[in-house]
Symmetry: none
Subunit: 212 residues, 4 copies
């Protein structure tokens, strides 16, 4: 509220730009290999100028983490939560999660995935809690499906981590300008996971369009 509002979101219009540029650099070179000089230069600021907007390098990383997790909640969790059918929920979650990783604020998400061991103490705890919340959200969907469909033998927890592994690993290899389109990718990953988990193998009516 006061002028010292570096931590609060209010009144600093350059902060989203700073987060995004920093996230891009953290993604490209790694957090430890990116200097505050790199970031300020990429922003057209001096080092001291950058410090007018942020408190420290670690707080900057924390802000990026929270920004990325905000996106995850807004772009994946919220739309999915509004759906009632569990299988349809899962289909949509896969589609939206892939979409998030591949298109929206790619760098912020990648930093979350890669700079796992970088945060410490309270910051780390806070982030881990938000991550766990998402995992439980996914686990619950899988448990609902399993209840309706006793054919499957996969534990929801293992299914959840398998699915997250499949999707999160994308940042290590998937090239959006390569031969596999995002729609194709989404369709095949959905098919692979749903059939593997023991849910109806046929493609659902909600055929994946990369809804934007």
């Amino acid at each position: 509220m006061t002028d010292k509002s570096k931590e609060a979101a209010g009144g600093d219009s350059r902060r989203p730009e700073i987060f995004h540029v920093a996230a891009r650099l953290f993604h490209e070179k790694g957090f430890a290999q990116t200097s505050m000089s790199d970031i300020s230069a990429a922003l057209g600021l001096t080092k001291a100028g950058l410090y007018h907007h942020i408190l420290s390098k670690e707080q900057l990383l924390l802000a990026i983490f929270n920004y990325g997790l905000d996106l995850l909640e807004r772009e994946v969790v919220q739309p999915v939560a509004e759906i009632s059918d569990p299988e349809e929920k899962l289909r949509r979650l896969i589609q939206k999660h892939i979409q998030l990783i591949l298109q929206k604020r790619f760098h912020e998400i990648t930093v979350i995935l890669h700079e796992n061991r970088t945060l410490h103490g309270k910051s780390l705890d806070q982030i881990n809690q938000r991550k766990k919340k998402y995992i439980r959200f996914l686990e619950n969907i899988l448990a609902d499906i399993a209840r309706k469909n006793p054919r499957g033998k996969i534990q929801p927890k293992l299914g959840a981590f398998a699915l997250l592994g499949m999707i999160n690993w994308l940042y290590q290899w998937y090239n959006p300008r390569g031969p596999v389109s995002q729609d194709e990718l989404t369709e095949q990953f959905t098919e692979l996971f749903l059939r593997g988990y023991g849910t109806g193998g046929a493609a659902s009516p909600s055929s994946p369009r990369a809804a934007r």
Copy 2:
């Protein structure tokens, strides 16, 4: 014989120990956040003493990468290559790859998975070639299965990366002292992927025992 023996494998009995300790530290703190002082202290050496055995921090990382990829070839590729039935090949690869990540030289493998953007130039090229060789090995198995079993609709390339994502992501969450045993994990991941990829869902005769 000369000082150059740092590059050759011969006659430096402390090198394996150095690799393992360094790999553990790189895994725990990250490559960039681990100082040569950390490594030498963990080895009970001075910094200069450590440099008697290695050429540079980057060469040390490269050596660890190659050591880990040697393990992958010896412990996963070679045993699997001797099998003839494609589906049996895949089952064994999943089992052996999980085993490698969870038990054998855990740190070396984790460093390979995590410190992707750290190497540069020729070292990076060399490592990437070895990685691609493994991916092609897995793709070929999947293609063989698809040929025998036209029911599946998953492209071998996407299947390969999905499987690698599932398994490699383990290092981010799996706790060997947690409630899920390694056998259980192996069984469920095998079931999930094989059924999802479109191969016979019934458990095969080679029920997974974490063969040691």
Copy 3:
């Protein structure tokens, strides 16, 4: 304006002081034996503070070289170039060159003479070109004299290097507070070289006064 102003000349008022102090230390102890710590301490700065003004030790040396060669051009070449009579040109060059070595920015010039093998690559090429330009300037004067005065049998090139050796060697032995005054030195070196090269031995009207 940006951090890049290290390379440009503008707006860093401490740079001349830094050059001079560094040149003094390089002269006294040699480039390799002078540490950046020595230089920063002599300037009343920390090491990191020194690096705020310069890019590297090698760039610092290069800057000193160029500064010294600037002096040579301003204090020797330009005044001499305005004279028309070749013999008078030579007398003035000897006087001015001795003056430069013994009085003006002694250290900068000495570093140029002594730290010959220290620069590398492009920096070395650039400096060598500037040096060669001066040698050709002197050679041309000697060639002009030889044309007018066919008595002499000394090749201009050998004459030039002999003269440069005589004068540049001064930094190895001449003590300004010793029994030989700078005027006396100038007079005798002029006499020795002109008579030896085969030009009129009588003292010229421009009797050497160490003009300041």
Copy 4:
């Protein structure tokens, strides 16, 4: 006399080779930039092996200095001392000194000229005394000439340093494979200096042959 005779010359046949190789490296890269590793590698020894022959890097440099000054005395001073005519003495000294610098043990002599500020304390004093002895030897010759030939007005001390400057500077620029032969160089430098100093300008009967 005992086995500890590292300092004495006796009983270590590899020492001359070591001196020469070290002198070459000191000349090429400078004393401070040459590591004991460089030297031992160039000799095909280990570092510790090198230390069986020498006491320290500084003692090694001192030994090279003394070796070079031994050469100067043997190859220049002794032959010249046997001549009686002063002018002939001077001619021969010029010829022999140039010869020493350009052919015989080039590196040892160059190190003496260049690594002036490197020695300290007693070693420096000892070397400086030997150097001064040579300068006085040359000064005496010039004084003898001046006594016979009152035409000259150059002080012997200044003449001596001028001549040493001309000749010693050769190591900075003269290329033995260039267009100027060593005989030509010797002849022209002799002519230049003798005429300049005020001694008979005509070439003497002892025309310079690069006596080997």
